[in-house]
Amino acid sequence: MLTVETFDTLAQAAGAMTPESRFLGGGTLIMRGVNYGDQSFQRIVRVRDRSLREIRSESGRIVIGAGATMADVMAASETSFLADVARQVGGPAVRNMATIGGNLFAPHPYGDFTTALLALDASVRLSDGSEQPIENFLSARSSMRGLVASVSVSRPMGDEFRFRKVSRVKPKGVSVMSIAVWLPRQGGRISQARIAFGAMGPTPLRAKAAEQALEGVNLDAQGIEQALSVATAGLSPMDDSLASAWYRNEVAPVHLRRVLLGEGNR
């Protein structure tokens, strides 16, 4: 028998979580599981704390509450640099419900927003107040206890941040892959680039070899050549109904080139 429990605070909810519980964010994944007979959980836990939806600036970083929806991100002025990413998640009905916190846990091939957060070196704050880099969070999320309270990111400059979702059906298709890049530049040359791929592994993953190959190069066809050749190093794409792992590996450098050079923008 499935039960639903509602708590006033995130801390109480976190205390009530068991392996057979699922925390309800927007419900776009959990309720689908309920409707389609997911037998892996017996309890749904939710909180009625509205502050979880807040988006605010805090000491130079943007803090996005775990309960903020994609629509909230699109509407808030603080997160204008992420509006385009949020707009590419689902359709309007999904964006009105789907939360940033839920997206952090969305299994392959979902998690486009998390891919962007990974490229932006976000930091994840848990309900116990501890904070960890998103990369550490993602690598341990399947065994994680506790709940996410918020994520924080620093605002990228100008066109430093770029995102592209590759899907077969537009505008609401699921990702064949998504690519987010953060390209800080010093004197025209790239420095400390971050590249994240979504739907190219069990969680969004960084393409670290490609990041290193971009160090100190110019952002042009010649400069990125080396990065493209190692674009898929460290990724582990899967076969699914949208694309085979082989196909994903083949097209990843093509899409990465388009993102880096701003080709094919519509």
Binding site: M1, L2, Y36, G37, Q39
Partner: protein
Amino acid sequence: MSSIEFRKDLFADERDDTLKEIGKPTIRQDILGHVTGRSPYFDDHLFEGLLHMRCVRSPHHHARIRSIDTSAADRMPGVRRVIRPEDVPNNLNTLLALINFGKDDEALLQGKKVAYVGEPIVAIIAETERQARDAAAVVRVDYEVLPHVLDVEEALEPNAPVVSETYPNNTFDYHELYDHQKLRFGDVEKGFAEADHIVEGRYQMSPIEQAPTETCGAIAAPETNDRFVCYTSTQALFFSLGTTAKLLDMPSSQLHFIGGTVGGGFGGKVDSLHEPLAVLGSKLTGAPVKYIFDRAEEMQVGAPRGAERWYIKDGVMNDGRIVARQFTGFFDCGAYTRLSSYAIIKGTGHLPGPYSIPNVASNVYCVYTNRTPATAMRGFGITGVDFSIECHMDKVAEAVGMNPIELRILNAYRDGDMKAHRRLAKNTALIECCQVAASKADWAISAQAAAQTSLQGGGGERAAIPETVTDQAGKIGERRRNKIPTAPGEGASAKGRVAAGTSVAPIIAVPPQRDDMIIDPARTGHRKSAAEQSPAVPSVHSAPIAPPRYTPPTPPTQAPMAPPPAAPVAQPQQQAAAVQPAAAEPYKPTEPFQKGIKRPGVSRFISGTRRR
């Protein structure tokens, strides 16, 4: 509506434009309810104490069931009843049994051997859907996994695993004679010898799921007087009712079926899988029971349009005339027949497409594999081969360096032409369609092609049935013993010739005065008294049952679609002797087709060949 352009200039004299509905845009009768959200679907009917049913399904392509242990499921919370295969009163059926075509091959719940992933074995009825799912998860089935076959041509190998014991050759038996449906018209070998080019192609399409918005399902509940009401999403209400009556061995007068809103069918809701189980569940629990596919089941277990593979070989002259066309077709019907056997008959009647080709030969196989059984979907039987034919027409156009639309116009059938299934073509509008399509697409065609019309140039010599070469390769079971070629005529030891003009006379049994007067006692569910079953009555059985228009392709009858080659029909047992020229008289059966006569001690539901 504005996107429709009526080309009333074409065939104006063949049409009555004063009609009120035909040729005019119309509003669907149910659209108002749909767009206002008021159409009631089967799942909108609420019942106090509704129980939910879920099936335990095979995880294997092919496995023998050693044992089924449901004791843990019986003890699960909320479980009201576990239905095992032996609880189904008459647990063997084939869909087309209702029109006496084919042998019963499929169980409602399979207790002996599963032949595809997702085949139902046990049904659980519980108070909530979740409880039913949880109980289904603890049913223990002991499987002996068997080798499986998933490819149509591999399934025809002599040593291929046997998918269905009802059809041990992995092919549907056509006309109790061949493991495929034959079509022979003229002499393709002669045509190939004359041709300037031979163009061959292989075409294949995958299974296609109908993907309805509302998944297949039914709710059954007890009514008064031992009747059961069943709200269902079926596309074929009385087909489902008849199937339920047969599987549950109960008179159809006890079944009150309510349908009407289908929630998207497209062919995928004719298989009547839900109604029998829902009614059985309701009967066994005395409570209302709902059985509905979830989306994963709809995709995995719900029957799709079957996969097809076609080989086409054309003999083409330099000027683009196609003088011979040969087909070898394989329908992947999955593990059980459902409707695929009929799709092949329908597809064969369509060959060689909308073209006049003087020499045509075709072998089409209905092949059993360990895949999800295939069923109906929008034009099934035609769609796959039409895709193949039109791809091949483009290939032919390329081979002879011709404009593909002009090639089609050159070879198009015209009014009065003889089709390969020995019916005269009429109202053939392909030429006009090509011309209009070319102009809409700004595709230039020659003045000569633009001047053609389907009304002229047909008939005459083109109306003649040519001398036809026949063969008797591919008898039922032959392929199991030796590997023999699948293409028409190849490897045939016995060939025959049927003289030009030979045609089989249609049988006309005494027709009922009106169509709605056809009554089949076996289908009404009323048991007849012994007196009524006396030999004096058979005319009651036989006369009304011979359908005046649709004839199931049983050999002694003239099937309007695609008769097998005339010779085997006329003299099925004659081998080389069939070489003799035409018999003086065209073949005429001595008695009209009749359905099997009931015998004491024999189930009235045994269908097809075993009935007789």
